[in-house]
């Protein structure tokens, strides 16, 4: 069995958890095994069936008031207890902020190694084999885990979503044995960015600015451009972030985030090696730069040599026209 941890935020399922579930379904078919999913805490009753139609024959809902606020300790403990009970051969989580916090806690509790932030899962001789970027994507490491169960986090936006089926599986509600007293740290508040922005790691389109943006106020142009594209986010190069033009949460590259959106648009980014590492797995890349020799042009699908301040308004108008259609 492959068990998939389904993350919820404010009562909603995270899309990247469904991506992990979809991949579990595909690999379980190869391994001739089944898929189960697990939700934690007080969740709306419809979530169980909503998850199961993506391919989970059984959905566990672990209940305990101590699981309502996120804590790695309580969640790690509850998941480890479930794993000990149902003995899956692998546990998949999405490599979200939550998944990256929880998976190592779970793995250590079980005393097993962890495959982090993988971008490919294969099956070799009935064993799962993983590939993950190292050095922010400058190289790719393939490996198997010697310990079992294999705990795996899957990079968001990489694994395709399966079409949901129509047959809902079984929902099993269980009490988790977690005591309030053993929790020494927990989330007390979620501070959302203004306007409910999408994170660059989750966006389908990233519009990024670099030194060529020239001034912090010019990032408003990118925000307007992003506003004309559904499910998009504003990214930035390290030099734009280090200049204080935009927050570091937006930084793409080796000391920022690695992204693989459907479309990455780079404005005034020359393409330092640290930046290219963070975005070269994007499906389609567009760059606008004044310098025809800029290294970023070596990996673009479409390039425009010219003044980004002339290009952006036209792009915005054209994209808006598409939206209005």
């Amino acid at each position: 069995m492959i068990l998939v941890y389904i993350e919820t935020r404010q009562g909603k399922i995270k899309k990247s958890s469904l991506e992990a579930l979809s991949e579990a379904k595909r690999r379980a078919a190869e391994l001739a095994t089944e898929v189960a999913a697990v939700l934690t805490g007080t969740v709306p009753a419809e979530l169980g069936p909503e998850v199961s139609v993506y391919g989970a024959g059984r959905v566990y809902v672990l209940k305990n008031p101590a699981l309502d606020a996120y804590s790695a300790e309580s969640h790690g403990r509850a998941l480890a207890d479930l794993v000990a009970g149902i003995k899956p051969q692998a546990v998949f989580l999405s490599a979200t902020a939550r998944g990256k916090d929880l998976a190592p806690r779970l793995a250590a509790r079980l005393g097993v190694s962890l495959a982090s932030d993988v971008t490919r899962v294969g099956v070799q001789d009935k064993k799962l084999e993983f590939t993950r970027p190292i050095f922010a994507g400058k190289a790719l490491l393939s490996f198997t885990l010697k310990t079992s169960p294999g705990i795996v986090t899957l990079r968001p936006n990489v694994f395709p979503l399966e079409q949901p089926g129509t047959v809902a599986g079984e929902v099993v509600t269980q009490d988790a044995a977690v005591g309030e007293a053993e929790i020494k740290g927990r989330v007390v508040e979620l501070l959302a960015e203004k306007g409910g922005e999408i994170d660059v790691t989750e966006a389908e389109v990233v519009v990024s600015g670099g030194r060529g943006m020239k001034a912090p106020e010019n990032f408003a142009l990118l925000k307007e451009l992003a506003a004309a594209i559904p499910r998009s986010a504003v990214g930035a190069s390290r030099s734009a972030v280090d200049s204080g033009w935009i927050g570091h949460a937006h930084q793409v590259g080796q000391t920022g985030k690695t992204v693989s959106p459907n479309l990455y648009m780079a404005f005034g980014i020359s393409g330092a090696i640290q930046h290219l590492a963070g975005m070269s797995s994007s499906k389609v890349i567009v760059a606008v730069n004044k310098d025809p020799e800029a290294p970023i042009f070596k990996l673009v699908d479409y390039g425009i040599v010219g003044d980004l301040f002339e290009v952006i308004p036209v792009l915005k108008d054209e994209l808006k026209k598409l939206q209005d259609r």
């Binding site: 250590a108 400058k138 198997t144 927990r186 501070l191 890349i285 010219g306 036209v314 598409l322």
Partner: protein, 260 residues
């Protein structure tokens, strides 16, 4: 406060990574090794906490003899003591193994601490596993990817980066905290600090002297291959004025690449 910081020696981010398909490893020849960038924020935060609250900062690095270079950099930045956890193994890409060794050091030799600080991940292995695993092994609360940290008596409040915002965490000490960019601006070493760091003795703890079994000291990861990302096909530069090219690119994204 007694603060421990854990740092790693990694190739600097400017490095062009070359691989050796036969050894299934990164070719380390010619690479310039530095203190992992996120670890610098952890060291800086420790120094700021010591300046505000008093106490002592000890920095540890799990790695080869050469890791003494980054330990001396930390000493030059102002940490009080440095300890090398000497490990002959090459990069194992297994956070569990590293966390087991670190937890064993803390259980057997360095038991007194209020705070364990790490970088949110090492640059290179990019695993982001060790801080949480050490926390689990020692039964401590954790705050990862932290951009703001406040310590008051035996409690901590941290802001941690999550998708589209931040989570505020409340925890008791001792605790594990891992640093994200934005937490602070790391200081430079002073000349005086560099001189003093040169003379400082760095105690060595051997990773295989901690009572861990041979199995615990093995990597739980079996590397099956190493590769370079597939090169992207050279695309095209769109001709015409910036306005014409902009209109053309939207049309291509819509009709050819089909991504919008």
């Amino acid at each position: 406060m007694n603060i421990f910081v854990f740092v790693k020696r990694v190739p600097d981010t400017e490095s062009r990574i070359k691989i050796n398909r036969e050894t299934k490893a990164v070719d380390e020849q010619g690479l310039n090794f530095v203190l992992s960038p996120y670890d610098e924020y952890a060291v800086e935060e420790a120094l700021r906490l010591r300046e505000a609250k008093g106490g002592k900062v000890t920095v540890f690095s799990l790695g080869p003899d050469e890791a003494q270079i980054i330990l001396r950099k930390c000493l030059a930045m102002g940490v009080d003591e440095a300890v090398l956890i000497k490990d002959a193994a090459t990069e194992a890409y297994d956070g569990l193994r590293a966390a087991r060794i670190i937890a064993a050091v803390l259980k057997t030799k360095y038991q007194e601490f209020d705070l364990l600080l790490f970088g949110k991940q090492s640059v290179g292995a990019d695993n982001a596993q060790v801080p949480s695993m050490v926390a689990e092994f020692l039964g401590l609360p954790q705050a990862n990817v932290v951009t703001k940290l406040e310590i008051e008596a035996d409690k901590g409040i941290a802001l941690r980066e999550v998708e589209g915002g931040e989570e505020k965490l409340s925890f008791s000490l001792p605790a594990v905290v891992s640093a994200q960019k934005g937490l602070n601006e790391p200081r430079y070493e002073t000349l005086k600090g560099i001189m003093a760091a040169k003379k400082k003795e760095i105690p060595v703890v051997a990773a295989d002297s901690l009572g861990l079994s041979a199995a615990d000291l093995q990597s739980g990861i079996e590397v099956t291959g190493i590769d370079m990302p597939s090169a992207r096909k050279a695309g095209r530069i769109l001709p015409g004025s910036p306005q014409e090219a902009a209109r053309e690119v939207v049309s291509l994204l819509r009709n050819e690449a089909k991504v919008i």
